[in-house]
Symmetry: C2
Subunit: 461 residues, 2 copies
């Protein structure tokens, strides 16, 4: 494969990856009701976190992570550890010049591939590692990732994408054409982005565990904060949902979009009935109405509830191949990429290109631990240098756990402010890692000393 070396990369001739440090980091979020939904009643927001260290002597590391919700975070760390032989000794120059090659090497490991392929624990581990490589590359270039991508040559970006299994919907030549077209007017859009930021929407009012009073108060606050869209979790009890949706609509008025999110709670038939029962309150989209694996099911739901109510999914969609089919089948109105589930930036480039080809807006999933920090870069690149628009596009925003990151997202008037620090905004404070490492961090050690039950045992009875 030919590579187009990026002239912006800091030289580090001869430097290699010398260490891959992994951490099992868990925050005890289940002790609040923040983050509760119909399928995830007690999440402990967690990160299987890794650091790529080098001998370049420049102090630059690559950081990446998989987001999980508690139990199994150790399995995710074990999966990242299983990838170490692919990383140790790799040339830093080559990695930074061509992160896509790493992604293909990891997904193509003929033995590890059996554990997916390209799905679940192993693929999420690959995503974390690939994201760390992109973080390293952008840091070495001295650019925030969105700008690193937006400045890259279209030919080079196409080389970073794995077209295997998607070439029937998007050829490399078509991708190149989209990226070339995306460069037209990019400078002007970059100026707009730096001035106004990228629009967000907030899920903060809508968690299932909140009282109607809290929902109403937080919904009004969201509007006051400049958001033009909020989201409510639904799917546990229809009467409750009708009441909550009525309260939310009353709180925000007719002009604010209210998305609803069932978190895969329903079968296809239930999804249609339940969504129709909430139609009177004008939901903007129904998110994850059923299994993320059910392409034909989403198409059926969309045919039944659209076009007034849009269908959205993606946070649990396993890879570009399923996104391809959701688009081919006309199953979704909104593509919800997640920065840390698929095979990292490289595969998300493929998904952004597919969405651009099909003309479907991308509204990323975020929240959790650090997902806002990561995914903002992908949407900002998409705006500046691919789709060229923010129309009907918003990034999810949840006000959780940002303080644990060195360069947390900055919201202003309902918009994500464009990051300026080099890299992918993935770096967690060392103090947060020391506090919340599981099971040996200070918080968990003290927690056991207080006699609280261990997470894995309290929750599975």
């Amino acid at each position: 494969m030919t590579t187009t070396a990026r002239s912006t990369a800091t030289p580090a001739t001869g430097a290699v990856i010398t260490d891959v440090v992994t951490h099992d980091i868990r925050f005890p979020t289940s002790r609040e009701l923040d983050g509760s939904d119909a399928m995830n009643p007690d999440p402990d927001y967690s990160a299987a976190y890794l650091v790529l260290r080098t001998d370049a002597g420049d102090g630059i590391e690559g950081h990446g992570f998989t987001f999980t919700i508690g139990r199994g975070n150790d399995v995710q760390v074990a999966a990242i550890d299983a990838l170490k032989p692919h990383l140790l000794g790799r040339s830093v120059d080559e990695l930074a010049a061509d992160p896509g090659t790493l992604g293909r090497a990891l997904t193509g490991d003929s033995q590890l591939r059996w554990l997916g392929p390209e799905k679940g624990v192993m693929h999420m581990a690959i995503g974390a590692v690939v994201n760390a490589a992109w973080d390293l590359a952008a840091k070495r270039a001295g650019l925030p990732l969105w700008k690193f991508l937006a400045d890259a040559e279209p030919e080079w970006l196409v080389e970073q994408v794995d077209f295997r299994y998607i070439a029937d919907a998007l050829t490399p030549a078509e991708a190149l054409e989209l990226l070339r077209a995306g460069r037209v007017g990019a400078a002007g859009r970059e100026a707009v982005l730096r001035e106004r930021g990228y629009p967000g929407y907030t899920t903060s009012p809508g968690w299932l565990g909140y009282s109607d009073e809290k929902l109403t108060r937080l919904a009004r606050q969201a509007v006051a904060d400049g958001f033009t869209q909020i989201k409510l979790k639904v799917g546990a009890d229809l009467a409750d949902d009708v009441r909550r949706m009525r309260a939310a609509r009353a709180a925000v008025g007719p002009d604010i979009r209210i998305a609803i999110d069932a978190n895969q709670r329903w079968n296809v038939g239930e999804a249609i009935e339940w969504t129709r029962a909430l139609a009177a309150f004008d939901p903007y989209w129904i998110e994850e109405p059923t299994s993320p694996d059910d392409i034909l099911g989403h198409a059926t739901v969309r045919a039944a509830v659209g076009p007034d109510i849009k269908v959205a999914t993606g946070e649990h969609v396993q890879n570009r191949i399923v996104f391809k089919q959701l688009l081919q089948a006309g199953a979704v109105d909104v593509v919800q990429i997640d920065a840390a589930r698929v095979g990292g930036v490289s595969e998300n480039l493929a998904i952004l290109l597919l969405a651009a080809k099909f003309g479907v807006p991308v509204c990323p999933h975020a929240g959790g631990v650090g997902l806002c920090e990561l995914v903002q870069h992908l949407s900002m690149f998409d705006f500046v240098a691919l789709s060229g628009t923010t129309e009907d596009r918003v990034i999810e925003y949840v006000d959780h756990l940002h303080d644990h990151f060195e360069t947390p997202v900055v919201m202003r008037d309902g918009h994500y402010t464009a990051p300026t620090a080099p890299g992918f905004s993935a770096t967690m404070h060392p103090g947060s890692i020391a506090e919340y490492r599981y099971p040996d961090g200070r918080f968990w050690t003290a927690d056991r000393a207080r006699g609280a039950a261990d997470i894995p045992e309290e929750a599975v009875v």
Copy 2:
């Protein structure tokens, strides 16, 4: 949920699961070319193996495993270990009376679910555990699993199935009707099964690494052994495949079916072209022409190469939801269940029922480590008490590693002989475990002493 207690279960009142022992077992099969195909050039056939122990005092254990091909088997073991809290202390009586409940508890763990849902490493771990529970249940009933299932009340079998996300294609009422219809004539079919066995086909001649001479010799041997179908691996080089396919057809004559298997090597367009290029040699089916995630892609391939050449897939299909869509979309002519990838016997019941509903034959994937031992039970149940036929149905057979099992498959005249030992035929010899445990078994310890490189390091450079 109401449960219909099985009168055949041995009473063990008060007994519970006391231990879950796991083993990382790896066989050095990559040192031969057995098992090589276009995507898996150097598999080290492996098992992430578990034993459910109880305090019932009857010596009965439940055995189960996930099959992998080497690296990552440790990640798979870690995933099984993560399920232990769901198992320890569980009532043996309740587990044996209702294994489906365990499956739902495992797939429904709200935190672990994030790592799938129902796909990849975590779901394969669930499958191993659920299979161990079915093994325990069948052993306690004193019946081989196929007979345990075939004798079960239809109402009870329906209760073992999770209809979530498949109810739009198959309702519990429809499943009940299929199972009731399947009982008609079951005794006669059981007699036929015990007399003749269940037809198999063999992949032994067709591995990519074999010379044409070896292929020809093994293909003739397969016919002499009573097989009416063989399979060739294809997809690495078209000229080679044409030559090998010609040799195979010459060896077996026009009446033996020759299936071809691309192991996901192709994009959709390539799959169509390559398969057509081999059409002159009358391949019976093209297996895994592209990604197992690509439902619409398989439908496109089938529309292009069918009906003369059938389309088959399934060994890497992650769950019942994807099988459902393959059937809904008319994407496959042959459903290839795997005993150890989806959520165990319970989910395979769902898939067998879906295939029966759509009238599509099931021809299981097998080979690897112990997959023949397991999956024969599912096909035999299907013949005796569900689809009621073996027409166009064959179980894959590969002559690998059977001797490591206490009750290995017995082939006779190209047929799998019906197992008579209680359980799921999953129990590996303790001596084999002691020999091939990785990295501390006798073989691996001696291997390192001989100075051979460790598997994970030799293969990833």
